[in-house]
């Protein structure tokens, strides 16, 4: 049950991200709702759920739009795993906690993409992209965080979502 719900959320997310979000772009930037989902799962369920969500969510993006499969999956899985480590150690009820981790995730992910592009030999300037892409993306994503996190918290009120998964079983 839990698995199907998560599948549905991820599919719905990619559809909305790729067809609805282009129309709500501000200055060419759109929010990274998958990052918000991964952080929400990390704070509400911890590992391994958040790592798994990050993995499959990223994989879906890779398969549909990426040119090499694995990059997004890796980034989101690591984000899910690392933030999942603080599960139970922070106040998951506080919206500001979630916003902080979302900002951190988007920042780290963008820096990773930057590094990856840098080694691919593309001519990029960190200063430029920080102010034109990374910062607006962080602000925009943090702005949509409350809505998504609120819905996720509602979802986690249901009993079936609180069954734990375990690594290796």
């Amino acid at each position: 049950m839990k698995g199907w719900v998560i599948c549905g959320i991820l599919l719905g997310n990619i559809i909305i991200q790729s067809s609805l979000f282009p129309f709500i772009q501000i200055y060419g930037v759109q929010p990274d709702s998958l990052a918000v989902l991964v952080v929400s799962f990390a704070l509400l369920a911890g590992n391994p759920t958040s790592a798994v969500v990050g993995f499959f969510g990223g994989l879906l993006q890779d398969i549909l739009y990426g040119q090499s499969i694995g990059i997004c999956a890796l980034q989101y899985m690591l984000a899910g795993y690392i933030i999942g480590l603080v599960y139970g150690k922070v106040f998951a009820d506080k919206m500001i906690v979630c916003m902080f981790f979302v900002a951190l995730t988007v920042l780290l992910r963008d820096v990773l993409v930057f590094i990856q592009m840098f080694f691919a030999g593309l001519d990029v300037s960190m200063y430029n992209i920080f102010f034109t892409v990374i910062l607006p993306e962080i602000v925009y994503t943090v702005a949509v965080t409350p809505l998504i996190y609120y819905l996720m918290r509602r979802l986690y009120k249901y009993r079936f979502m609180n069954r734990r998964w375990h690594f290796g079983s």
Partner: protein, 281 residues
């Protein structure tokens, strides 16, 4: 059981293993041949139709909202337009001189109707790359409609990009403003060859292209038209790309660079045409 318990207590081993596998997968798949893999094909078949519906619904809403906005602006526009009529009457004289040039350009613009044999199919845009970094989008036609990799994608305004992957009923298109795209182009007036690269890459989300490797003695000026050169057999010759916005030359470089404003409005892309390089293909 002992093995299971071993992994349960050390989840980071799984994370590291999966990470290594993903990096390997990324390296392997980055050299793909343009054919969509099996999993990608399946996922695309399921998602593409849903995307199509949502994309057209949202674009409908978006268009109606912008129509209301336009209506408000009509009144101010009226005054402006009146002044403009006077100005344009003066311009008309000059325009007659330019008519010759215009006719040549119109030929380029009417590409689709004039060279019907090149056109493979029309297609609708169904979704856009969810990231902010690149400009890749999907269309709703694929192998079944005769599309193959490297075919050019155009609108009546000009060149959009080229097909980079095909599935049975959908394809991925890389637009010319994507930072990874490069197309060989030619300045229509001076016949100078160059390479048109996309500028949409980290921080230059301005939807322009750069034309590089232009010879130093080239006499290109602002407003010159750029068309595809047809070199390399990927794109047909003579598709309109855009207009020169600015010409620069940095001291150390042995060539000039021009910033190109593409003719296509990449923010409002709904229908496109897929064309092939040669008739006998």
């Amino acid at each position: 059981m002992a093995l299971l318990r071993f992994f349960r207590n050390r989840p980071w081993i799984i994370i590291i293993t999966v990470s290594v596998l993903l990096v390997a997968a990324a390296v392997i798949t980055s050299q793909n041949d343009g054919n969509m893999n099996f999993v990608g094909g399946i996922a695309g078949e399921i998602i593409a139709p849903v995307q199509k519906v949502i994309y057209s619904a949202t674009s409908y809403v978006y268009n109606s909202v912008s129509q209301i906005k336009e209506r408000r602006e009509l009144r101010t526009n009226y005054q402006n337009l009146k002044e403009r009529v006077a100005y344009l009457e003066k311009e008309l004289l000059r325009m007659n001189e330019l008519e010759k040039q215009n006719q040549r350009l119109r030929k380029l613009l009417d590409f689709a109707t004039e060279r019907e044999e090149f056109v493979v199919t029309g297609a609708r845009v169904t979704g856009k790359d969810p990231g902010n970094w690149f400009e890749v989008f999907t269309i709703d036609k694929g192998k079944n409609h005769g599309i193959s990799v490297n075919m050019a994608v155009v609108t009546e305004q000009g060149l959009v990009g080229r097909v980079i992957e095909v599935g049975s009923n959908w394809s991925k298109v890389q637009s010319i403003i994507d930072g990874r795209s490069s197309v060989s182009g030619i300045i229509e007036r001076t016949r100078d060859n160059g390479v048109v690269k996309g500028n949409n890459l980290f921080g230059f989300e301005d939807g322009t292209c750069s034309m590089i490797y232009l010879p130093l003695d080239s006499e290109i000026v602002e407003g010159d038209k750029v068309i595809t050169s047809g070199l390399g057999d990927i794109l047909p010759k003579g598709i309109y790309i855009g207009e020169v916005k600015e010409v620069t030359r940095s001291k150390r470089e042995l060539y000039k660079t021009a910033i190109i404003e593409p003719a296509v409005d990449f923010r409002r892309l709904e229908e496109v045409l897929v064309v092939k390089a040669r008739v006998d293909d």
